[in-house]
């Protein structure tokens, strides 16, 4: 017997399930399939349940701030390059960013920020600033949901010391379930990109003396450029 059959057999024995009993087996499978298909949601926390779009932006802002994320507001997508350039200058960081093949990012007027140098593709260890577009921004805990791929290579989220995420107000959702619904919409039912990354602020650790220190292995700082949010 293969280890697989042995383990599954032991599990069934412990559950008191007789595989030869076709009716029970079918019924149990049906229960599981129904649950997988239904995507039934459990209650959302009151801080975001049934809230208006404006309220959600407020919750998101508070949560991002609590997680040590810098928020930069712009009215339109076209204002993003100048805002990124301004943020880097304020932080005393080099005017050099890298992003992937994301069409929205590629379509921005980067030349309008004269000092900003733009490179494309996956992150190299020498990169200092990565820019990404998320699938969604989850208000309840200020969590950005990113999907890996050529558009937004996953290494940009973790390798550079600074991570800039451009979040359009239309992508702000209440809970994690709403973000996963958007992932499902983009990639298909039960299909995922290699990674879906939920990110809530810069990298941190409490492993030395119990004190939180930023920039353990991933980015030391994070900036969300909020586009068109009230």
């Amino acid at each position: 017997m293969s280890p697989r059959d042995q383990i599954l057999g032991a599990v069934r024995k412990s559950l008191g399930v007789d595989r030869a009993d076709a009716r029970t087996t079918a019924a149990r499978k049906a229960v599981a399939s129904a649950r997988l298909a239904a995507h039934q949601r459990h209650p959302l926390p009151g801080r975001v349940a049934g809230k208006s779009a404006d309220d959600l932006v407020g919750v998101l802002r508070a949560q991002l701030t609590a997680s040590a994320v810098t928020i930069v507001d712009v009215a339109r997508l076209a204002d993003v390059p100048a805002a990124v350039s301004g943020y880097l200058r304020a932080q005393n960081l080099p005017q050099r960013v890298r992003f992937g093949a994301d069409e929205t990012l590629a379509g921005l007027p980067w030349a309008s920020a004269a000092t900003l140098e733009v490179t494309r593709g996956r992150a190299a260890l020498s990169d200092e600033v990565g820019v990404s577009m998320p699938v969604a921004g989850v208000a309840e805990t200020g969590t950005l949901v990113l999907a890996s791929g050529p558009e937004n290579p996953v290494t940009l989220n973790f390798v550079p010391e600074t991570h800039v995420v451009v979040l359009e107000a239309s992508r702000i959702v209440a809970g994690y379930e709403d973000a996963f619904a958007l992932v499902r919409e983009r990639f298909g039912e039960g299909v995922m990109p290699r990674t879906v990354n939920m990110i809530s602020g810069p990298s941190r650790t409490g492993d030395i003396g119990g004190r939180i220190v930023m920039g353990a292995h991933g980015p030391r700082r994070m900036c969300v450029v909020l586009v068109g949010a009230p």
């Binding site: 008191g16 801080r47 997680s67 996956r122 791929g149 299909v191 290699r194 941190r204 004190r211 353990a216």
Partner: protein
Amino acid sequence: MLSTTRDFKSNARTALGDAQLQRALSGLPGGLVAQRTAARARLPEFEDLREVGKQIRDHALDHLDVYLETWEAKAKAAGAHVHWASTAKDARDIILKICRDADAKLVTKGKSMVSEEIALNACLEEAGVTVAETDLGEYIIQIRGEHPSHIIAPSIHVTKEEVEKDFRRVHTHLAKDRVLEEPATLVDEARQVLREKYARADVGITGANFLIAETGSSIIVTNEGNGDLTQSLARVHVVITSIDRVIPTMEDVSSILRLLARSATGQEFSTYTTFSTGPRRAEDPDGPEAYHVVLLDNGRSEILGSELREVLRCIRCGACMNHCPVYNAIGGHAYGWVYPGPIGAVLTPSLIGVKEAGHLPNASTFCGRCEQVCPMKIPLPKLMRQHREAEFRQGEGLGFAARQGLAVWGFVARRPRLYHLANRLAVRALAIWSGGAGAIRRLPLAGGWTKHRDFPAPQGHTFQQLWAEAKKGVPR
């Protein structure tokens, strides 16, 4: 991992006398307790969520075979290699073979308690593969040649000063006169040392907090991002996890994630929650070329059929140990195996046997805080009691003195008049002995207790007396 659980009593005694350890323990778990309390207060739905979480886990375990098969089919469709391991040795052999096939010289590792359970590092090192732990806490204990003393804060027993000493000892390529006092400087040094390893690694090994049946994904939850660099920069990603980790849907895991970080560190959400599904896609510019998941049983299928099944709901948040007076007094190493604290007291005897680990479920005051804070509502004291009963049935339990003591207690307890008289005398005697102070510092026949803490002095009346007076309306 080799167990020293048999020596729990002497381990605990050593730990209580270890001044350095006591200093490390004095503040830390308390901080986590306060942070969890604050996080719970910020989410009024927390208690309702615990019930939701419990039901999800119970449902998943009731249909474990079906969800494992579903998860496997989905994972394979995304290009995953799925391996099933009945024992720790099977899992080690599988991972060693993956490393050999990849011609691996350097393996980076994210934090994984299952990898501790199967003693993976020693096996890989023996085969000539260099293992670099990348979680900062794990890195610290690796260079100290130790094991984790907490399931989410593995180096909680190490003080900042000790870390500094260890870094100076190991990082000999750095300037001797560098200033290393601040935690931030130490974190920075570890960051520099580990950074180049991620990209050089042939294989990156992580654990998994959960597996999602709906999508065939594995999930890791971290604050440092080390698990992500580990899996995204190595050529091969290996996930080592156990069969009880599977959750049906993304909606189900959403609710459970709302509980995990709040229970563990009191954060609203951990910094990084990463769903990994298969290797890099053809069009992907980064990510591993191969993705393996090793599913370990190692006794869990048996626990599923026992009266201890509920322990499998555990999501490894560590809240039970943070709140445990025994853990707070002796730290994690005294428990002698991978899982310390109340969860260890239930899990360890289940996985390595009551004979080896019978001390653990006995080292509890049954104060019940662990059950109160468990996000999955695992009745830990009840499960410990079941181990005690099993131990007793196997005749492993009580020594001569304990049996005699219980016999005397039984004789008195069955005779209410005698019991009340004995109680009144004892309470009076203790009150006099305390000399009016609130606590007794030394007590004949109870030196084992008063050596490490004071015995609270009774106020002069028994509970029964107070009750009778209260009924009569005697004002207090």
